[in-house]
């Protein structure tokens, strides 16, 4: 069955029903949402792609990256550069002319073509992650040291993007592109199309990560999270597996960035900075680390809350959001999915059937 293949594990009957209902609901969303709300949902789903990739390395590989903003940003810039060139036609992008650039820099040239931009948007971040992973994991830089390195990467890239205003648009970022391949990005039909593309991309990312996790690679990854030296003694080279997962995660972040730009219409260095990079980890933590689906739930819920609360209380929303964080962290250390499985297990225990659910919770 399709769903069986999709989720990668057989699962129970209820689980399958839940999945079908969820997918059906998601496909019907354009029917009962205004274009604006649908746009927001698309944005959240795009961000969820990144979160799934982040969960792959953090939840299963034990690699905490606080630098995913960079991979996300590279993908977003790749798409934005293509859109900007399409919008500028034969002339230079507007920010270049006011920054005193005479001709288009060479590295902008490939982004004239949509397929090239699409490929580079995932390839560049994946490559960067590969290089970073190769040198750090091979040298057995793990844990907090690796995390600090990723933060440094964020600092470097953001400073570079801000400083090279004539090439990147500086702090303003890239904006002002109304259409893609001739479709106006603002019309409801394009928005619905983008929604389904994003939904499909998210489903694809989820399946990919689910497959990796349940494969041999995933098992080695998980094993090296729990005891890297033991894995080494067994004859595996954990750094290879980690580098691979990190590169996949980077590529997914790039994909998320590309879809994000199509929705939001602007990318600036602030979106790839330290704070957003930490926020991304929060989405995964809130949803439930090491569950993949939790990353999606966490991203959508947290971002909806952010938007909803800031609309309801524009002057005090940060306080409300902060309080919510504290409550969640104190009451649900394992995230929403952790609480969910607890509820399920306690219910089934009350019903007298103590089996799989309990084992899972542990």
């Amino acid at each position: 069955m399709v769903l069986k293949w999709l989720t990668g594990n057989p699962g129970s009957r209820t689980k399958r029903i839940l999945w079908s209902v969820l997918l059906l609901l998601m496909c019907m969303a354009p029917l009962f949402m205004t274009p604006f709300r649908l746009g927001l949902l698309t944005k959240f789903l795009a961000l969820a792609i990144l979160a799934v990739g982040l969960d792959l390395i953090w939840g299963y590989g034990g690699i905490l990256s606080l630098g995913h903003g960079v991979f996300f940003g590279l993908g977003a810039y790749a798409m934005a550069m293509y859109l900007k060139l399409e919008a500028s036609g034969t002339s230079l992008p507007d920010f270049m002319s006011w920054s005193g650039v005479e001709g288009l820099p060479w590295f902008w040239e490939p982004f004239r073509s949509f397929p090239a931009a699409l490929i580079l948007g995932m390839l560049l971040p994946a490559l960067l992650a590969l290089i970073l992973g190769f040198f750090t994991f091979r040298n057995r830089i793990v844990g907090v040291y690796f995390t600090i390195l990723t933060q440094a990467l964020v600092m470097i890239v953001v400073t570079l993007f801000v400083g090279k205003q004539e090439w990147t648009g500086g702090t303003n970022g890239l904006t002002g592109y109304p259409s893609i391949l001739g479709f106006n990005l603002n019309t409801p039909s394009t928005k619905i199309g983008l929604y389904f593309i994003t939904l499909a991309a998210l489903a694809g990312a989820y399946v990919l990560c689910r497959r990796i996790v349940s494969s041999r690679v995933g098992q080695v990854l998980e094993a090296s999270r729990d005891g890297e030296n033991r894995v080494r003694f067994l004859g595996f080279d954990p750094s290879r597996y980690k580098t691979f997962a990190f590169a996949v995660s980077g590529g997914l972040a790039g994909l998320a960035g590309m879809l994000f730009v199509l929705q939001v219409g602007i990318i600036s260095p602030s979106m790839m900075g330290i704070v957003p990079s930490i926020e991304m980890v929060l989405w995964v933590a809130l949803g439930g680390r090491g569950t993949l689906i939790g990353a999606i739930i966490g991203t959508v819920l947290l971002n909806s809350a952010k938007t909803g609360i800031s609309e309801a209380y524009p002057e005090g929303w940060l306080l409300v959001l902060g309080a919510l964080f504290v409550i969640v962290v104190v009451l649900m250390p394992k995230g929403l999915v952790g609480v969910w499985s607890k509820v399920v297990s306690s219910l089934s225990r009350r019903g007298g059937t103590v089996h799989a659910a309990v084992r899972k919770e542990g």
């Binding site: 507007d94 801000v162 702090t171 990005l185 524009p314 929303w317």
Partner: protein
């Protein structure tokens, strides 16, 4: 078991809150969206109120500046409502937080136009936030009133610019400096689009008007160590430092300049982003004698300004000050009101048409909307910081200057707009 039940309860209450919250949100937006939502122009306000959006940074680094502008806009709305509203309807402000983050500005602008269907939005401060909002307003055919002086070279059909463009602030101040304070000029700015563009214009002007460039330096936004740059300034010995630094950097720069023993007597410094509010932050003793170029000061002597300052202080506290962007925000609301009343409608096309040539006795003096580029005629003023933190006006242009965002009337500016 006990611990578990606490967790379950917490989870349950969280879910409940989430459901309630989403319930509120959907309910709120269900009503105005019953009809078509093709991103169309704001519809005639229903009932007895007209919605307008207020979109400034209420949190983040820009909040310190933008909250005051929001306050001025709210003051104007309150006054208009007390006097009977617009077209007999009360104005209902919808406030959103841009959070000093450009994508957030774009998102909230979309929300105001598509969900709330506001008739106009008053908002923005940084050029980056305006550039992020611009495509949203153009695609949804909305109306944005942008209240801050900026770098020009822009004129969107969906934006009214109530702050100065370059020929109403930078260009005349450079001419004045060259005539009165010497010819060697050092350009110092924060590294983003406004200072870069401003300095490009100034350099062209220096060449044309016989000035001399003594140096050009940029620092990242928020930069606070100016020792290297001050050393360079000392070495270059300019007559004038033209300062386009923004935000916190100004505090550091002027303090370190004073520590280095350079005062306003040794060298003229003219700033374009230092107003009364910033003087309060930096300290009048440090800035005394330095210059600024604006279109309005709290000390500007008009009856309208006296009333404005009194009302602003009465509402927000005697220790608050007014400044150029604050006044421009206040004026923007009145200009929009006048245009709506002349049009007899809040429909964007009609309001834009009616806005052409509208005059208003603003606190800064008479302002007029230029129908060609949707900027406004403004009087240029150069002021000197006094010991009490206020400005003394040294020079003004005598009459409101016609806005020329692309500097088309200046021969030396040919080719600057990149077209």
């Amino acid at each position: 078991m006990k611990k578990q039940s606490v967790i379950v309860k917490g989870w349950a209450s969280f879910v409940l809150c989430a459901i309630l919250m989403s319930g509120c949100v959907t309910e709120k937006e269900a009503a105005p969206n019953a009809g078509a939502d093709n991103g169309s122009a704001p519809i005639e306000a229903k009932g007895d109120s007209i919605k307008v959006g207020i979109l400034h940074s209420l949190s983040g680094t820009m909040a310190i500046s933008e909250v005051s502008v929001k306050d001025a806009e709210m003051l104007a709305i309150e006054e208009i409502n007390a006097a009977g509203g617009v077209l007999g309807k009360q104005i209902e402000p919808v406030i959103e937080d841009g959070a000093s983050d450009w994508p957030t500005f774009a998102e909230k602008a979309g929300k105001l136009l598509q969900q709330d269907k506001v008739a106009a939005v008053f908002g923005g401060w940084t050029s980056a936030s305006r550039k992020a909002m611009l495509p949203v307003f153009e695609q949804n055919n909305g109306l944005l009133f942008y209240p801050v002086q900026y770098e020009g070279l822009e004129s969107s059909p969906n934006i009214f610019y109530t702050g100065a463009t370059t020929n109403q602030q930078i260009v005349p101040s450079v001419s004045w400096l060259l005539e009165n304070r010497g010819s060697k000029m050092f350009l110092l700015g924060s590294d983003y689009v406004f200072p870069r563009t401003a300095n490009k214009i100034i350099k062209a002007q220096l060449t044309a008007e016989g000035g001399e460039l003594a140096g050009e330096e940029y620092t990242p936004l928020g930069h606070t160590d100016f020792s290297t740059i001050i050393a360079k300034i000392k070495e270059a010995k300019p007559d004038i430092v033209y300062n386009t630094l923004n935000g916190d950097s100004n505090v550091a720069f002027f303090k370190q300049l004073k520590d280095a023993g350079i005062t306003s007597k040794d060298m003229t410094t003219l700033s374009v982003s230092v107003a009364e509010e910033e003087i309060r932050g930096i300290g009048a003793d440090i800035l005394e004698g330095h210059l600024a170029a604006w279109n309005y000061y709290q000390s500007t002597d008009t009856p309208e300004n006296k009333a404005f300052v009194d009302k602003y202080k009465a509402k927000y506290g005697a220790d608050r000050v007014t400044a150029d962007p604050i006044e421009a925000g206040y004026t923007a609301v009145y200009l929009w009101k006048a245009a709506v009343e002349k049009a007899g409608s809040t429909e964007v096309a009609k309001v834009k048409e009616a806005a052409k040539g509208i005059e208003f006795a603003a606190p800064e003096g008479k302002v007029t909307i230029d129908g060609d580029n949707q900027h406004i005629y403004k009087t240029v003023r150069i002021g000197e910081v006094q010991a009490d933190g206020q400005f003394k006006e040294l020079w003004n242009s005598g009459e409101p200057v016609k806005p020329d965002p692309y500097l088309k009337t200046y021969d030396w500016a040919k080719g600057l707009s990149g077209e």
